[in-house]
């Protein structure tokens, strides 16, 4: 199976290049993923043969475009096991999805004194919308503590979620610590207290089978570009009974039922949320990306990435002076490994790795409260995907050792 996975790299033309005279090793997949030929071809094909605006016009191209646009909705519903494709809303990405839950559901239903519970590991897009909502509606924003190894502290979960809690919103998988949170278990606690459960699936959906019914949650958000689809397309899934109660946020073309001079009625969900011409080519690309992933199998992808991390993590742990954030047990993590070399700023490390052809991210990863919680200014982050190999991991390990050596005499 591994050999088969290793051959996937041929599907990604961008990976076949040298960077700074070295073969590129792309380890910034938590930021965005590369696109297989199948996705690029699907978009090209759409523009070459089928491009038209959807839901309007009776001509053949409009029908073809509409059919593809709505077919992908069904495909997404199947991909995350949503009960109905009418619960699938197209958005720009996870950020917009989460913002819409906060701005539409949140502003409508959160009352003064209510509590919104998130955790210290949230990405800014699952933090700032709640902060703004809390200020606007007079609610209180509370944070769940982390254990020393970066996992959610379940005692803190049980303490922070109370009968006053209206919304619990958590990352399914952390974009920094690489942990997977027990959102199904937490959803039960949230529901027991009458709260709804929102899940940020940006870092989980690309890497594991998602079943929103099995998770027992109320809203789920993810981005296309982190799972091989183009940028600018994402999904908000919500239970239909909740979506029905939510007001649309963008008014205009396509989302209306009937417009009169002083009054307008809106379409049903999901279309009432999709004002204006949508990112149709992005939707087509998302469909092709889901086909690509499903042709391999999400369980197989998850297992492959786990075996990759099980291989790489121990070698990283052995590097003296390398601090790794999150659990050190490979079984407890995704393909995201954040680290710092003692005495070196992650920007310096990332520049050095780039000279070795290795692309990693350095910075606060849009998680400044988490950085403060970890008491670091920033970290470097290597994030793996299914086209990465054990050799990529070895290149990373060697390059980190070389970086350490390079700076040994210069920096305290």
């Amino acid at each position: 199976m591994v050999k088969q996975m290793n051959e996937l790299i041929k599907d990604f033309p961008i990976l076949d290049q040298k960077v700074n005279d070295e073969q590129l090793v792309y380890l910034d997949n938590a930021a965005t993923t590369q696109k297989p030929r199948a996705v690029v071809d699907a978009i090209t094909n759409y523009y070459y043969h089928d491009n038209a605006n959807v839901h309007r016009g009776v001509h053949t191209l409009a029908e073809r475009a509409t059919a593809q646009f709505e077919d992908v909705r069904k495909k997404v519903a199947h991909f995350i096991n949503a009960p109905s494709e009418q619960e699938i809303i197209y958005t720009k990405g996870t950020t917009e999805s989460l913002n819409w839950v906060a701005a539409s559901y949140g502003r409508t239903f959160v009352k003064p004194g209510d509590e919104i519970v998130i955790s210290y590991m949230e990405h800014h897009s699952n933090l700032v919308p709640w902060q703004i909502l809390a200020k606007k509606n007079g609610a209180i924003l509370k944070y769940i503590d982390l254990l020393p190894d970066g996992q959610l502290d379940m005692d803190s979960v049980r303490k922070q979620i109370t009968d006053k809690t209206a919304i619990v919103s958590l990352a399914h998988a952390s974009n920094v610590l690489g942990v997977v949170n027990p959102v199904a278990e937490i959803a039960k606690i949230a529901h027991k207290h009458g709260a709804i459960m929102v899940v940020d699936g940006a870092q989980s959906t690309p890497h594991m089978k998602i079943d929103v019914q099995d998770l027992g949650i109320d809203f789920f958000a993810f981005s296309g570009h982190k799972l091989m689809a183009p940028t600018g397309i994402g999904i908000l899934w919500g239970k239909s009974e909740l979506l029905e109660q939510m007001p649309p946020l963008e008014f205009g073309g396509e989302m209306i039922d009937w417009v009169q001079l002083q009054e307008t009625t809106f379409k049903k969900a999901p279309w009432k949320f999709e004002g204006g011409t949508q990112n149709i080519a992005g939707v087509v690309g998302l469909g092709a990306a889901i086909d690509y992933l499903e042709s391999i199998g999400m369980d197989k992808i998850e297992n492959y990435e786990k075996s990759l991390i099980a291989n790489i993590l121990p070698a990283l742990v052995k590097i003296d002076g390398l601090e790794i954030y999150g659990p050190l047990d490979p079984a407890k993590r995704t393909g995201i490994i954040s680290f710092n070399l003692k005495g070196l700023h992650p920007h310096d490390v990332a520049t050095a790795l780039d000279m070795e052809g290795i692309a990693v991210r350095a910075g606060h990863h849009c998680a400044q409260p988490l950085m403060e919680y970890l008491d670091v200014a920033a970290t470097a982050r290597a994030s793996f995907y299914l086209y990465n190999t054990v050799e990529d991991g070895q290149r990373l390990v060697e390059a980190i050792k070389a970086t350490k050596e390079f700076f040994k005499n210069g920096i305290v």
Partner: protein
Amino acid sequence: MGLSRLDNLYRQMILEHASHPHHHGTLKNADHQLELRNPTCGDVLVVQVAMKADKVSDVAFSGSGCTISQASASMMTDEVIGKTAAQVEQMVVTFSKMVTGDSVDNVDDILGDAAILEGVAQFPARIKCATLAWKAIYQAIENDNKESTVGLMRHDEL
């Protein structure tokens, strides 16, 4: 090839400034001070300036950052002492042009030792690290309020 290219960026003098930065600390009687944050990496730099007879008489910086931002801050503090506000502005403009790869005349005369940071131009991702301290002192002098304020890292302007 690999890491040998790093020598263009991390020159010996830069590494020395980064590991033993000059004027690192705080001033008791600052006339201007400002905190500037690099939003891409979360680094925070505070620059304080004392003026005497319209010239910079003392300067200090605090905060942590990468090798490039710390070395650049250290070199900046060495070079601005004794300069007028107008001269500092010219230095900041010159420095900014140099690290973004624009050709500028008399770089060595205007920037002194800090001209060694011209290698940053080959590493576009690190320009913001290099300019942080320079933008901070420019905005600090512009800020007449003696209390520290938080400046904004603007893209195209100082």
